[in-house]
Symmetry: C2
Subunit: 266 residues, 2 copies
């Protein structure tokens, strides 16, 4: 496979919800032993990196500062690169605000904003929607979505993703985000490749979702590896490939099987 | 014009927000003197008819029980006709619930529902969205929207209409309502024509919005009359006609000018 760097999805790859996938933890350790660089990439739009590092620690994984990109953080980075420190109105939660503030952006009310940043919010209400609507109606405001996720599979059933807000704004104004940061966008992937410090041809993305992870790989022009330890299984694989029109370059049962294969190459 | 019955929009025709248009009140009284039957039709998805009758009383207008159709009420009527007394989960406010209960429907949680009824709600929250999402994902649930209004022009700026919820659900599930009751749907117009008891050829709809009122007239196959006392004016008229592809049969400055013209025909 000729791989020196891996971009790893978290949910469905290393864990399911809050529970680690034991085999995957083994695989992760082996990948590190092989000297392959890794960076975790999460589309989460409500949490800060701090919370995610805590979770990795609970899993017993040693994940360094440079080995995690989360869409909240990547959004803050992207805005800095586009416009420097900016005045932001966000629909999002405290985790997103924390990341924006960390990079020197200012969280302001909608009348003062240069940016509308849409992230999911379990405390969403009519007032937040009204402010976001007024910004979306203003073409001079730059509109950035943390991720494009439509529905999230929670334990007791599906719950709305960031798409709740993106869809509402689209229907009301005809406007979609100017920029989407999270997968399948290449923006977050390009940030991950930078962090890896590995040439693009030697990087692969590993994930469990064809429309998100594998599509992100295609969008960024890197190799893609599907693991069957999450939402994609043998039953729905063909359907997903047909729906999306993309196929992974490699398929493995889980991260451990991938690690074994990488070891046999060395 | 050969008109015996008029379907009258409220906002932009008889009043602006809570303020009556004095000329229009005069016109309304003249229309009644001429023996022309009238019914007010409102797309409002949060109020019950009771609240609207109170407002007409404040305007000094005598509007009878059979002279007002509001989308909340029309939704309850439509469900009764489709399915009899039904178990309904609604995203809507108390005004909508009141109308549903008045016709014998039961307001239930989403797991017990036969119908998903989407109406605007200033108290909308993540939990209501989650329940509505789960129903929209279930093809056996009949999905009815009270109106399709995307944005509502409030005094201090635009605020979300029912389209907030319709758009969010559409983006998340790919599903649009099975039935839309309010204008420009012909469902509410057909109920209004029934109330008038006048032959369809002799009925006209009067409104200030081309995409809603005039379109409703076209959809229902009746005459349409635009009044320039609301959102449409000489500046935006051509653009709206182009956008929608429909034109009113007649145009008047306001309801009084229409009334004068109807008198001159007699």
């Amino acid at each position: 496979m000729n791989i020196e760097g891996l971009i790893l999805d978290i949910d469905g790859v290393i864990s399911r919800g809050r529970k680690p996938i034991e085999k995957a933890l083994e695989g992760y350790r082996l990948i590190k032993e092989l000297g392959i660089k890794t960076v975790f990439v999460s589309n989460n739009s409500t949490r800060s990196r701090r919370i995610m590092f805590e979770r990795f620690e609970q899993f017993g994984l040693d994940v360094g500062e440079d080995e995690l990109i989360i869409a909240t953080h990547a959004t803050a980075v992207h805005i800095s690169r586009e416009n420097g420190e900016s005045r932001v109105f966000t629909t999002g939660e405290d985790g997103l605000k924390e990341e924006l503030l960390n990079l020197g952006h200012e969280i302001v009310d909608y009348r003062e904003a240069e940016y509308l940043v849409v992230g999911s919010n379990r405390g969403i209400n009519f007032d937040i929607f009204t402010r976001a609507l007024r910004l979306a109606l203003n073409d001079e405001i730059r509109y950035v979505a943390v991720n494009p996720d439509r529905v999230f599979p929670a334990e007791d059933g599906p719950i709305p993703g960031t798409g709740l807000i993106i869809g509402a704004l689209y229907w009301m104004t005809g406007r979609q985000p100017d920029v989407v940061v999270g997968k399948p966008s290449r923006i977050i992937i390009d940030q991950a490749i930078e962090k890896l410090g590995v040439r693009r041809e030697k990087v692969a993305i590993v994930g469990d979702q064809i429309d998100i992870d594998i599509m992100a790989g295609k969008n960024a022009g890197i190799k893609s590896i599907l693991v069957m330890s999450g939402v994609t299984d043998e039953e729905n694989y063909e359907e997903k490939v047909k729906e999306t029109g993309v196929e992974p370059d490699y398929i493995f049962r889980d991260l451990n099987e991938l690690a074994q294969s990488l070891r046999s190459e060395k």
